[in-house]
């Protein structure tokens, strides 16, 4: 007999149910796991895109800086840049990615301009690229329809990269090998640190910095020089000095310290020295010589015996020839002709009276109180009775007080001396060119002189307000004589530019120099000699510097603000908020479409 044992109804499907639950659980865990992995993958992909936007952005920043350098003095709306109002813009693709860079806040020709460069970089989202792009996408520069970009942006404020931010700069070495050598600084644009724009020892500062770009041992040899400023070398460069040499502030040196003041040296000099190009190609005039007449007036003041007193309002003496004292005078008549101010005071005149009361009481306004009453009871009958005693007003007197100016003048003699000087070259406004230069130069305009060969300046005089840029491509340049400077003493008015062939510059013969020297391939030698303390006022950038004899080097800090620049650098760098980065997509026609962003890109 077969016995069939059927499962109870309540036990049916347990295995199936358990299998479904376990499968569901495993499936859920698997889905969670995969989602986590997918999120991580997407996050990493986006991070890669986010970071890869930086090189694109920086490329835009660099183009903006380069464009400012190349065309900042003329017109920015060129080389493919478009202008809308005061905004200049360029869009450029780098492979599939691109940047949009704009320049704003730029004032043409202004030395205080601080342009703002906004660079927005757009890179293709890798996930989108993977899913939507075909294999040909990477081979073309044009954007593909349906592509979405990740945008990121940076705002840069640019600043001029001024050439002469330090006093004495050399590519290779500085050798201050002489007695009485020193450096310091002043500021020709600040009356607190200069007198009439000229160097004044009483107002000197301690920014007479020296610097060498090289990373060599003893790249700066100070000897016993007195450096009132900082000293810098390239990495691993060193500074050697004698027992009395010193680098530091005026206060630190005045305290008797030698050596290097803590914090006043560094070894991180890192500067490029671009070559000098010819200022123009052809068209320069050939300058000629001639005579220049100068009339110089001098004033002699004699203050010993010819002083005289003149009562105002007589004509005052010429300014500077006397001085004025002020006194006060009074009178009862109005001082006609007085320059004032005139003040007045009214005095009431009175006299004491005794009158019998038989008369009326004194009328109001005719006396000054009090009125005293007294009785006379003896004596003649006619004299007896009541009496009043009081001050009877007899009238008024007006007194005027006014200033009296007394001028003590001295005799002034004006002497005018007329001199006539001859110069080998006289320069007015314009461009001049010479194959070689030898002799004296007088500049009375804004001139550019290009010397293609040997250059030997016997004397240089620059009229106040005039300016000279002297370019030379001769191998050896000599600056000699007692007047190798502009006569009003502003270093910004004379610039010497040594082109690549200039390998030697010599300043000698007790020549004073006021100006700037930029000759990155030249060995610059200053031969002082004698007992004179010759001054170099301005700044220099050369291959090397050797300073013999008595030389005082005074750096004009104004050059760090107004003199020549070599381009633009980043003064501030800030990321833009994502909400300020328009979203970029490509429409069905392959055109870039920008829409305002409302959140993260």
């Amino acid at each position: 007999m077969k016995i069939s044992i059927l499962p109870r109804r309540g036990e049916q499907g347990h295995v199936l149910l358990l299998a479904i639950i376990i499968t569901g659980l495993i499936g859920f865990i698997l889905v969670t796991y995969l989602t986590l992995v997918q999120s991580q993958n997407a996050s990493v992909m986006r991070s890669q895109a986010w970071n890869s936007a930086i090189p694109i952005i920086e490329a835009g920043v660099e183009e903006g800086l380069a464009h400012l350098t190349a065309h900042g003095s003329t017109n920015l709306a060129c080389d493919g840049w478009t202008q809308v109002d005061n905004t200049y813009q360029m869009t450029r693709f780098i492979g599939e990615n691109f940047y949009v860079v704009t320049i704003t806040n730029f004032v043409q020709g202004s030395s205080n301009s601080a342009p703002i460069i906004d660079s927005k970089g757009y890179v293709i989202m890798p996930l989108v690229l993977t899913s939507a792009a075909g294999p040909l996408l990477a081979a073309v520069n044009a954007p593909a329809a349906g592509v979405t970009y990740l945008g990121r942006g940076v705002r840069v404020t640019a600043a001029r990269d001024v050439l002469f931010v330090k006093g004495m700069v050399a590519k290779d070495a500085i050798d201050l090998n002489g007695n009485g050598v020193s450096t310091d600084s002043f500021d020709s644009s600040n009356p607190a640190y200069s007198t009439g724009g000229l160097y004044d020892p009483a107002k000197a500062k301690d920014s007479g910095d020296i610097a060498v770009n090289a990373s060599i041992v003893n790249s700066i040899n100070l000897g016993n020089a007195d450096i009132h400023g900082h000293a810098s070398t390239g990495p691993n460069g060193t500074i050697s000095m004698g027992p009395s040499g010193g680098v530091g502030s005026y206060a630190w040196r005045a305290a008797g310290n030698d050596g290097i003041q803590p914090g006043w040296s560094a070894s991180d000099m890192n500067v490029t020295f671009p070559d000098v190009s010819a200022p123009f190609n052809g068209g320069g005039f050939t300058p000629s010589g001639g005579s220049v007449t100068n009339a110089v007036s001098t004033y002699t003041t004699n203050s010993s015996s010819s002083a005289s007193t003149i009562v105002y309002p007589a004509n005052p003496p010429a300014p500077g020839a006397g001085y004025v004292t002020t006194n006060s005078a009074s009178s009862t008549t109005y001082p006609s002709g007085s320059p004032g101010p005139v003040s007045s005071a009214i005095t009431t005149n009175t006299t004491w009276v005794n009158v019998k009361a038989d008369n009326n009481y004194p009328a109001a306004g005719t006396y000054i109180p009090p009125v005293t009453t007294y009785q006379v009871t003896s004596g003649p009958q006619s004299g007896r009775g009541t009496y009043y005693t009081y001050q009877l007003i007899t009238g008024t007197t007006t007194t005027y007080t006014y200033p009296i100016f007394t001028i003590v003048s001295t005799a002034v003699t004006t002497n005018t001396a007329t001199t006539v000087a001859s110069y080998d070259y006289i320069l007015d406004d314009g461009n001049y060119q010479l194959s070689s230069l030898s002799g004296t130069v007088y500049v009375r305009g804004h001139a550019v002189l290009y010397v293609t060969g040997s250059t030997s300046v016997g004397g240089l005089t620059i009229k106040p307000g005039a300016h000279l840029d002297l370019y030379s491509n001769g191998s050896s340049v000599g600056l000699a004589g007692n007047n190798t400077a502009n006569s009003d003493g502003f270093a910004a008015n004379f610039g010497f530019w040594g082109m690549p062939n200039v390998t030697s510059i010599t300043l000698s013969g007790n020549a004073g120099f006021t100006g700037t020297i930029y000759a990155p391939n030249a060995n610059f030698t200053m031969n002082g000699g004698g007992n004179n303390t010759t001054d170099f006022i301005g700044a220099s950038i050369t291959k090397s510097v050797t300073m013999h004899g008595h030389f005082n080097f005074h750096y004009d800090e104004a050059l760090g603000r107004v003199a020549a620049t070599r381009g633009w650098v980043v003064n501030s760098w800030n990321e833009l908020e994502p909400k300020n980065i328009p979203k970029a997509t490509v429409d069905a026609y392959g055109h870039l479409v920008f829409t305002s962003a409302t959140g993260n890109n």
């Binding site: 600043a159 691993n236 070894s267 991180d268 890192n270 650098v569 501030s572 760098w573 800030n574």
Partner: protein, 167 residues
């Protein structure tokens, strides 16, 4: 019957061991993956924040083995502080402190100049903070699984240039 019972018990045991092994392995993998995701996110945010701060800042004010102080572009001071005890990296600005990293086993700041050593991609070390133009930062963060520092770690290193060049 006995043989059948023993076979059943043996098979069941094997299946159970396999299931437990799979579960434990899957669980550990899952936790490790979650750890990596969390580590990765934290590291990314930390390096992003630090990179932005360094690029934007004016200069380095001070530096030690456990901290880095910057003068931000707006004049405020930003301080990154690594606590070897708490194993955290924090960022403080204007009195507000944010924890950027946890489980940080090691962290180091190295200052460099902008000058590159010839023939290399490295920079000359900065002798003082005044010379610092590049900051090299590296750290190592770990996470544990059931209290054990397994293979869940993240090493992050970056060399960041201060972009401000003007005087």
């Amino acid at each position: 019957m006995l043989i059948e019972a023993m076979m059943s018990i043996g098979l069941t045991g094997l299946i159970m061991i396999a299931l437990v092994s799979i579960s434990v392995f899957s669980g550990r993998s899952f936790v490790a993956m979650a750890n990596y995701v969390e580590l990765d996110d934290n590291n990314r945010i930390a390096i992003d924040t630090m990179t932005r701060d360094l690029r934007e800042c004016n200069r380095v004010l001070s530096s030690s083995t456990t901290s880095l102080q910057l003068e931000d572009f707006d004049g405020f001071t930003i301080t990154f502080t690594f606590s070897p005890t708490l194993k955290t990296l924090t960022r403080t600005k204007a009195g507000s402190t944010t924890t950027l990293l946890t489980g940080c086993q090691s962290l180091a700041f190295t200052l460099g100049q902008r000058n590159t050593i010839a023939g290399t991609f490295d920079q000359f070390p900065a002798a003082t903070v005044a010379e610092a133009k590049v900051v090299d930062v590296s750290w190592r963060c770990v996470r544990t699984i059931l209290g054990v520092t397994a293979n869940t770690e993240a090493v992050q290193t970056a060399k960041i240039v201060i972009r401000k060049q003007g005087t």
